[in-house]
């Protein structure tokens, strides 16, 4: 009896960590398994029997794939605008001196330190007061707003760790400011910008609370899932959820492989 206890004591961190991991992964496994379910009622919460129906025609549910396309469209535009604006701010913050730095820093920090529901509600009061038509554009405006700060943080971290001598070297070699920026600065900052863009895309694509307040009758994918939790959850939701999970893992693994190969190639060079 003593031996297993001793083993448990020595490996307590590993056991506890793996239990936490199981807690994190369990819902994804449930989503995967229940994408093969054939529920009897309107809700897909209890296991009935195995079926491939949902996988054969994932867009068979009315309006679901339309909402998915809309979410992708909004996330794409929000990512583009937030990444450009956020990158400009990050460069200004790291590279230049200017007035009101403190105020600008808190304006960037505050959206991240505020419960989403507060931003959602206050933005709605603005739109109501302006008499704006709630829909695609109000959602897009809101998404750009809350993604912006996250892009700034991601890009800033990268630009701050950049060696300024590389740009000096480029100038010494008679590169003009534009050339220096395009061929030296931008490539070095690219991983930070890419990280910011990916974060913005994920945040926008999965956003519910701000969208819920400002979408009017526009239905994004999270709004569709929310509605279906009231009306009845189609199995196809789980198919989409599982497919997104699979695509994301593939992208991450591919990215790891490519960067690993690049590092090895760089190491081989004399």
């Amino acid at each position: 009896m003593a031996a297993p206890l001793k083993w448990l004591r020595r490996n307590l961190v590993v056991v506890a960590g793996l239990l936490t991991l199981a807690y994190l992964i369990m819902p994804n496994i449930v989503v995967l398994v229940f994408s093969f379910n054939k529920p009897r009622g309107r809700f897909n919460y209890a296991w009935q029997e195995f079926s491939l129906d949902a996988w054969k025609d994932p867009c068979g549910v009315a309006d679901m794939c339309g909402s998915l396309a809309l979410s992708l469209q909004i996330a794409g535009w929000a990512t583009l605008v937030a990444t450009v604006l956020g990158t400009l701010i990050a460069f200004a913050l790291v590279r230049y001196r200017f007035r009101a730095r403190g105020a600008i820093n808190s304006l960037i920090f505050l959206p991240m330190a505020m419960p989403e529901v507060v931003m959602a509600a206050s933005l709605l009061t603005l739109f109501l007061n302006m008499g704006a038509q709630l829909g695609f554009y109000t959602v897009l405006i809101a998404h750009i707003m809350f993604c912006l700060s996250f892009v700034v943080v991601a890009v800033k971290a990268r630009v701050m760790s950049m060696d300024p001598r590389l740009e000096e070297a480029a100038r010494d070699l008679y590169a003009g400011p534009v050339q220096t920026f395009l061929r030296v600065t931008l490539p070095i900052a690219a991983p930070g910008i890419a990280a910011g863009a990916m974060l913005a895309f994920a945040l926008s694509f999965d956003d519910f609370i701000i969208t819920n307040f400002n979408a009017g009758s526009t239905v994004t994918f999270p709004m569709f899932v929310w509605g279906s939790a009231q009306r009845g959850t189609p199995v196809e939701i789980n198919v989409i959820g599982t497919a997104m999970f699979a695509v994301a893992v593939l992208v991450v693994v591919a990215g790891q492989l490519i960067s690993g190969r690049r590092q090895r190639a760089a190491a081989q060079q004399p």
Binding site: T20, Y23, V30, A92, I104, A113, A121, D206
Partner: protein, 315 residues
Amino acid sequence: MSTSTLTEAPPPVPQPQSPEQPVRRTVPTRRRLVPYLLLLPGILWLVVFFALPLVYQASTSVQTGSLEEGFEVTWHFQTYWEALQEYYPQFIRSLLYAGTATVLCLLLGYPLAYLIAFKAGRWRNLLLVLVIAPFFTSFLIRTLAWKTILADGGAVVGALDALHVLDVTNWLGWTEGNRVLATPMAVVTGLTYNFLPFMILPLYTSLERIDGKLHEAAKDLYASPATTFRKVTFPLSMPGVVSGTLLTFIPASGDYVNAELLGSTDTKMVGNVIQSQFLRVLDYPTAAALSFILMAIVLLMVTVYIRRSGTEDLL
């Protein structure tokens, strides 16, 4: 002459006067404008769509009127008092649930972050991917999955019942009868689950930065593993603890998704009230006042917490 002088910068030579003088004077002014031009579009966006809405919300909260006749600013501050009187249980519940979820996230997340940082070896990247990967399935779908996991008569509830955990939680008022769904425990489970990665990632980042030699030094000085953790590892991971708890508590305090999907009418949080007042009841002044109070409470707590933990530079 040593070689090092060759790489040093030559002494400044006074520049000969040239006809370029006027051009030089304009360049600095242009350069001084550059940061403002870079900042302008993004900051303008935040001013118009983040700061200005807060002003509108503040003004809405002191308006009176009705939807048909329109609202007018009457400096009716009583709305705040009435809103607090009516909805203080939801406020207390929000802070209680979010606080509990934050503590649970720290207790659950720390071992996993520690495992990834120090013990995972070549499995490190795989474990990190597994922590981040759930993000890519819409969080609403994953929250709905908890309805299946915690279902009445399911394996989890059965196990908790057999281990007499439910007896304890019933006594504490966290669960009722043989149910976990639609109880405070279900809501806190969902909140903890939803924000756990936001705790693990900052913890991992700060743990990973710790120099392994410090652990060796502690060992050499006859510190037990427990003492090493208490005196070396944990203090050095404080920046991660602080930002992790903030990233968990702030969104959890305003959340209404978990309370709506996993809870019952007795587990409504302040987010649920704001949502229904704004989108269904259309009582804008009350909703705005509630939202403003929530913002004030959270910002106050965050400020005090950051001051106390002395990690202001982490922002």
